[in-house]
């Protein structure tokens, strides 16, 4: 299924300016004990992925929905809004 490539094309339509002070901080040691890893499923921008032995995440391209924070069963994700002027800017929200 070519959806991952499609997703990249979709994400390319979003204007966003990453906050130099990362707005998502993950305590990855807690992810080692996590079995479900729901963040890898729910993130609509696919910013979380499991490499097989560790959790990797990316703050760039975040759509600021907050799903990852809501689903994290171990409270490992510290998520806040990007500071003033940073983050996503929807032109057609």
């Amino acid at each position: 299924m070519p959806t991952k490539a499609h997703l990249d094309a979709k994400l390319a339509t979003v204007i966003s300016k990453p906050d130099p002070e990362p707005h998502i901080v993950v305590q990855t040691e807690l992810c080692l004990a996590c079995e479900e890893r729901p963040c890898t499923i729910v993130c609509p921008a696919n910013l979380y992925w499991w490499t097989g032995d560790q959790m990797v995440h990316n703050c760039e391209g975040c759509l600021e929905c907050g799903s990852c924070r809501a689903v994290c069963p171990h409270g490992a994700i510290t998520w806040r809004y990007p500071r003033w002027g940073y983050g996503v800017r929807y032109r057609w929200g």
Binding site: C65, G66, W84, R89, W92
Partner: protein
């Protein structure tokens, strides 16, 4: 910033915040709106339609001035199967074009900016591109907000900062949203020339339709869940959304972006959106089920409005409720200013003002609908197969080889749809009717 104490700080310039600021400014109070976007609306995603019920009271001539897309004349509800779609009867009502309370498709980036400007024109001060990071506490009550650009003090803070509300969490009124109480909306805005939209959906300029699709998703975990897809007509674009509860998404294990992508590939939706070009991809959370404990809507020196106070109806509509709760919050602040007291006891008047707006009722209804394990979702998961098998017999009978059917069509409708949910006093007479009908049908 200075040591000046404002009457009120409104956090968030969405529909709730702007309505609150507009009302406060009109009442002559000193009000500041803090917005994290550079322009109001640029952090927001419209996942439904704007119901103008409250906007009509606040800005009576909004039709001439607000940036609206299309007025909704019909909502079409469809059930999606693998390769079929069952369109339920719906009403296209052209009188809606002249109703007092209408529904419009809008872009929040345009609409919120306009609505916040209305508040500014009325005398409110807007501070954009500023993130509220914390609250200032004084003698056990909220006395202002902290931002990277300095502190700002006020007698009351209205938290209208959306579903992931900083004010609600920092004031201890609400905890972060749980997966079972929010749904995730993934949305795509698709370019299509206005003439083509009008041709495709049989519309005139300014008229619009909504198509709602319920369908199923089953993932690698083997769990099947129901979710909604909606298609809205804007002036020269369509928006396609997929809405799924976070806990459902988690259980079925299908990535969020795939849930929407699967709908784009559905034969019916693919035909409706063919020839479009993607303009923007978006995501947002919608709160469901109300706050439950209504005393969680206010605290010492703080009020919650809009999505921050989970003001959505049982259908998940949040536009008019946001504006109405913002107005109620503004009236509470005015009342507290007149009284000169900003404690929780005085701000409890918020509940009376909410009641006048009809929002206590919507909070209760939303809670009840959410608590009763949502039979709507059960129906959507269990019934499509049965409905399709009935529909095929009616609409497709000359194409399909007739299988052995134990019941007459009415009997089948009774056994598959009515019997599992109806109480005994409905079941009994309809069951008898179905039995008689089936006997007659077998004899034929």
């Amino acid at each position: 910033m200075t040591g000046h104490v404002h009457d009120c700080i409104v956090v968030g310039a969405g529909p709730a915040g702007a309505a609150a600021a507009l009302q406060l400014a009109r009442d002559g109070l000193d009000v500041v709106i803090i917005e994290r976007g550079k322009r109001p609306g640029e952090k927001n995603v419209m996942s439904g339609v704007l119901v103008t019920r409250k906007l009509h009271d606040l800005v009576p001539d909004f039709r001439q001035r607000a940036p609206l897309q299309r007025c909704i004349t019909e909502e079409i509800f469809c059930i999606l199967g693998q390769n079929e779609v069952l369109r339920l009867p719906s009403l296209r009502n052209y009188r809606r074009l002249s109703y007092e309370h209408q529904a419009f498709t809008v872009f929040r980036s345009e609409f919120d900016a306009w609505f916040a400007q209305e508040a500014v024109n009325a005398g409110a001060e807007l501070i954009p591109a500023t993130l509220v990071e914390d609250l200032i506490w004084e003698n056990g009550r909220v006395a202002g907000v902290r931002t990277r650009r300095g502190d700002l003090r006020a007698r009351v803070v209205i938290g209208a900062d959306g579903v992931n509300s900083t004010v609600a969490e920092k004031s201890g009124l609400r905890s972060p949203p749980q997966p079972a109480e929010v749904s995730l909306i993934v949305r795509q805005v698709l370019d299509l020339p206005a003439e083509q939209i009008e041709e495709r959906f049989a519309l005139q300029p300014g008229e619009g339709v909504i198509l709602q699709f319920s369908g199923l998703v089953s993932g690698p975990t083997g769990v099947t869940k129901a979710y909604y897809t909606e298609l809205y007509t804007n002036r020269d674009s369509l928006s396609l959304t997929a809405e799924i509860w976070l806990d459902a998404l988690q259980e079925c294990g299908v990535p969020a972006y795939e849930v929407l992508a699967a709908r784009e590939r559905h034969p019916y939706i693919a035909r409706l959106i063919q020839g479009t070009k993607l303009r923007e991809y978006q995501a947002h959370l919608i709160p469901w089920g109300g706050v439950g404990d209504l005393s969680r809507l206010y605290g010492d020196g703080v009020l919650l409005a809009g999505d921050a106070g989970k003001f959505t109806t049982e259908e998940g509509v949040g536009s008019w409720t946001a504006m109405a709760s913002g107005t109620a919050a503004a009236r509470t602040v005015k009342y507290a200013c007149e009284k000169g007291d900003f404690s929780k006891t005085t701000l409890a008047a918020y509940l009376d003002f909410l009641d006048e707006e009809g929002l206590i009722e919507t909070q209760r209804e939303a809670r009840q609908a959410w608590q009763r394990d949502n039979w709507r979702w059960r129906i959507l998961t269990q019934y499509p197969d049965r409905l399709f098998s009935i529909a095929r017999r009616y609409f497709d009978e000359w194409m399909v080889e007739e299988a052995e059917h134990p019941y007459s069509p009415w009997g089948e409708l009774y056994h598959s749809v009515i019997k599992p949910v109806a109480p005994w006093y409905v079941r009994w007479p309809l069951g008898l009717a179905a039995w008689i009908d089936t006997r007659r049908w077998r004899r034929e």
